[in-house]
Symmetry: C2
Subunit: 216 residues, 2 copies
């Protein structure tokens, strides 16, 4: 089962034409202000989760009235809106196979980094190969060790490999800038690579690698 999750980050960096597209997609979940925005665009999420501390009383009432399953928890501990939403998604949809996340990036760098690095936490490691982040200029996927084929996404120009942990034996055999099997001890962003043609391969034997496709 595929879930689409809208978090409450700045709307300016949502993919172009986001809400029109979103209206054609099933299985929306709204995290915090993301739930309010989905309702405002005629999309009723099947689940709303958040502390809603930046929402008005009227917005919270709307969420409670219109969304069947609305979890409003002002004490959401030490976790982010994204993490709280994923915790409930796992609980409510045990068959979840993919979560496309929107609105998780934008102005604040601490939130952006939290939304990139949560896959390294033991609780959310389950989602590592199931989540994908989308914004206007980037898509981000996460990989466990293995051999992979990447397909160039429409509108994207650049391709980057980002070891988030110590990574062993990362090899880029057929990208514009090739890399022989290399170990990385610390996080690094191998940025501004590109596909040659429509596909590219990569392989590594230990650690976690984020792959970013991006455009200017």
């Amino acid at each position: 089962m595929l879930i689409n999750l809208l978090v409450g980050g700045p709307e300016a960096v949502l993919p172009s034409g986001f809400y029109e597209w979103a209206q054609t997609q099933p299985n929306w979940v709204g995290a915090d202000q993301g739930a309010v925005r989905l309702l405002a665009h005629g999309i009723t999420p099947c689940l709303a989760v958040g502390d809603f501390d930046s929402s008005t009383a009227q917005e919270i009432a709307m969420v409670q009235q219109q969304i069947k399953r609305a979890v409003i928890d002002p004490q959401k501990d030490d976790i982010t809106d994204t993490e709280m939403a994923l915790r409930y998604i796992r609980h409510d949809f045990p068959g979840v196979t993919q979560v496309n996340i929107f609105g998780a990036t934008g102005a604040r760098m601490d939130q952006l980094l939290a939304n990139l690095l949560f896959v390294l936490k033991p609780e959310f490691e389950y989602f590592l190969d199931k989540v994908k982040l989308y914004d206007r200029n980037n898509t981000v996927s996460f990989y466990r060790p293995g051999q992979y084929t990447l397909v160039k996404e429409q509108g994207m120009k650049y391709l980057a490999f980002v070891p988030l942990t110590p990574v062993q034996g990362l090899e880029l055999p057929d990208e514009k800038y090739r890399l022989p099997k290399t170990d990385f001890l610390l996080p690094i962003s191998l940025s501004s690579n590109e596909f040659i043609g429509n596909k590219g391969h990569f392989t590594f034997s230990r650690g976690v690698v984020a792959v970013i496709q991006s455009c200017d």
Copy 2:
């Protein structure tokens, strides 16, 4: 000696009123399109560095005519514009004590991450406690193990601690969300903390921590 460095990232996320402020500041260096933009705003950098592959012939001619020391290198290897600029800054200004970096963040997440993580590379480790990144919503500083006092910056609301490497004994004794001495094995963004009052302290005994002050 303080150096101000403008890199060629999206202008929309530069701090508000950037160019007016920049005109009052000394010692500018322009990386790639950053050099062109400084000239366009009446600021002549003392050094321009980059491959200038996104600049027009006219822009490159302007850089060569107006900037005394212009390093235009189409073969800049595997390093980013920021890294190339810092390499030359270290060479040309051996007394450099601080580099304030602007234009290093923005739309592309691979570039943003490269500009956050380069301080972990042996070549640029020298700059770790000397660089600070600024954009419209964030300031980022980097710390080696030690005891520190942070001062709340004007207009910023949030405070985040981001272990970029394994970190030992991180303690937040007097922030809104306190943390007793804790070890982190993997990168994590401890986001959305806040100052209580105007100052906050933190300490850790091993690793590298980025500190982000941010606003919505």
